[in-house]
């Protein structure tokens, strides 16, 4: 029974990784860059919701909405100011810029909220479900999994059924050819950052509700893990990010439970390295046909 409960909480943790990984993978696929500041957008989302709920006493739904709006604007703004001028620069310059943006966000949060952790009041009011004496599923777990499933279905439909979604696929495969179809490439990149950042806000709220604390570094480790999940699933692939995130959460949780809680992160990284050795493009990744 405890195995099932570890498995379920692993799926729930993995769902959060998946939501974050979607942002990494979509931005990588469409803008061809690693947005290392993505993890910190989660933290910003968490703090906005924290402030709205605890300080401003706003209802949960409005607080979450505010978090999503702020993160969307933040993501699009970061892209406009920091990344867009580097559209034709070397990948290394872009990477260094992204790391710089990440530190900027962390330090701004330190400045505003201080360095000590704050207690985050869970946004979930659903009571835990007791299936048997030992198998109890928390409300947070249920809400996280359901939210993630809904978002994934919605995102998949959006990508495959709508024009902006098709434009995203076209740009990710061949930016120039997409432009020849009349796709506004800059607009599509902005949209990608907007969606990724809104999802990061949701992930931030779910994460902080699961581990009810928040500080300036809250986004760092989940950001790195989600990046691993994206690579694991095949960077650039949307279903890959979903599968990679969930698998990573399960691996992490089971190794924490059965092997060692100190080693669980190391095991996650080891799995990634192993994966890259066996299949460098990730589970669903395809060969990158880098344009010259």
């Amino acid at each position: 029974m405890s195995f099932i409960s570890f498995l379920i909480s692993g799926i729930s943790l993995g769902s959060i990784y998946a939501l974050i990984a979607l942002g990494y993978t979509m931005v990588y696929g469409i803008a061809k860059m690693l947005n290392f500041a993505h993890g910190d957008v989660i933290m910003v989302g968490g703090f906005v919701v924290f402030t709205a709920m605890s300080t401003m006493q706003q209802p949960v739904w409005l607080s979450i909405l505010m978090g999503m709006v702020v993160c969307t604007v933040l993501g699009v703004t970061i892209e406009k100011i920091a990344y867009k001028p580097l559209r034709n620069a070397s990948p290394l310059s872009v990477l260094i810029t992204a790391i710089g943006v990440s530190y900027l966000l962390q330090n701004l949060a330190l400045l505003i909220f201080g360095s000590s952790s704050q207690t985050f009041q869970s946004v979930v009011s659903l009571p835990p479900i007791r299936i048997t004496e030992t198998l109890v599923i928390t409300g947070e777990t249920i809400v996280t999994i359901i939210t993630t499933v809904v978002i994934m279905v919605g995102l998949t439909l959006f990508i495959n059924r709508t024009k902006p979604g098709q434009a995203m696929l076209a740009v990710s495969e061949d930016r120039g050819a997409a432009q020849l179809m009349g796709v506004n490439v800059n607009g599509t990149i902005s949209l990608t950052f907007a969606i990724g950042s809104a999802l990061a806000a949701v992930a931030g709220v779910l994460l902080c509700s699961m581990y009810p604390q928040i500080n300036a570094y809250t986004g760092q480790m989940p950001g790195i893990k989600a990046f691993i999940a994206a690579v694991f699933g095949g960077i650039g692939s949307i279903p890959g990010a979903m599968i990679g995130g969930v698998l990573l959460g399960i691996i992490e949780n089971l190794s924490r439970a059965y092997i060692s809680s100190q080693l669980s992160d190391a095991i996650v990284f080891a799995v990634l390295i192993l994966m890259l050795l066996i299949k460098p493009t990730g589970i669903l990744g395809r060969k990158l046909n880098e344009k010259v």
């Binding site: 098709q166 434009a167 076209a170 050819a177 009349g182 796709v183």
Partner: protein, 236 residues
Amino acid sequence: MAMLQIENLEVSYGMIRAIKGISFEVNEGEIVTLIGANGAGKTTILHTITGLVAAKAGSIQFEGKELTKTPPHKIVAMGMAHVPEGRRVFSQLSVLKNLQLGAYTRKDRDGIQKDLEMVYQRFPRLEERKNQLAGTLSGGEQQMLAMGRALMSHPKIILMDEPSMGLSPILVSEIFDIIKSINEAGTTVLLVEQNAKKALSIAHRGYVLETGKIVLSGPAQELMDNDSIKKAYLGE
């Protein structure tokens, strides 16, 4: 005034001057061909017209509007389609989705549907393979898809960059027949080719490009009869 009027166009890639001040025009209803050897600058010209590459100097007027000042994604909606070198179909998407992307800027559902039927009629193989991923098509089929995709925007003019590249002789003839019939159906064509013989055989007029400059121009028949062209481009 010509439909497409290019004047004193200059394009550079960093220090490399790829196009060194050229002027030419395409009139409505024509097939005009630009012929030239590898690296002459043919692709660069087409890329500059549709905004993939920025012009350094000169002007490109399409129906009186200045394209060098138009955002590239707005050019398709003005009635200009570009079949790029190497086809560049979206290999991870189905044939049908590729064709739908060709109509990306259009909102007239009925018109799109009619054009889809027209494309299928012209290229029956695309209809048979409409749910297949474009990357799994043969080279010739991909060329047909790239042309069909361009037709889906219902263009007034199509720019085609070496549509015969890498195709068997039979397919090359088929592709040129199709280009001719697209033109006869009312679409103006600017055709870039290394296969000068075939290109001149369907074109009304032609320009000969050498390292970024136009060295000869005239009616296609005249160019075909020109001794230096015969030697350099027609292998006679």
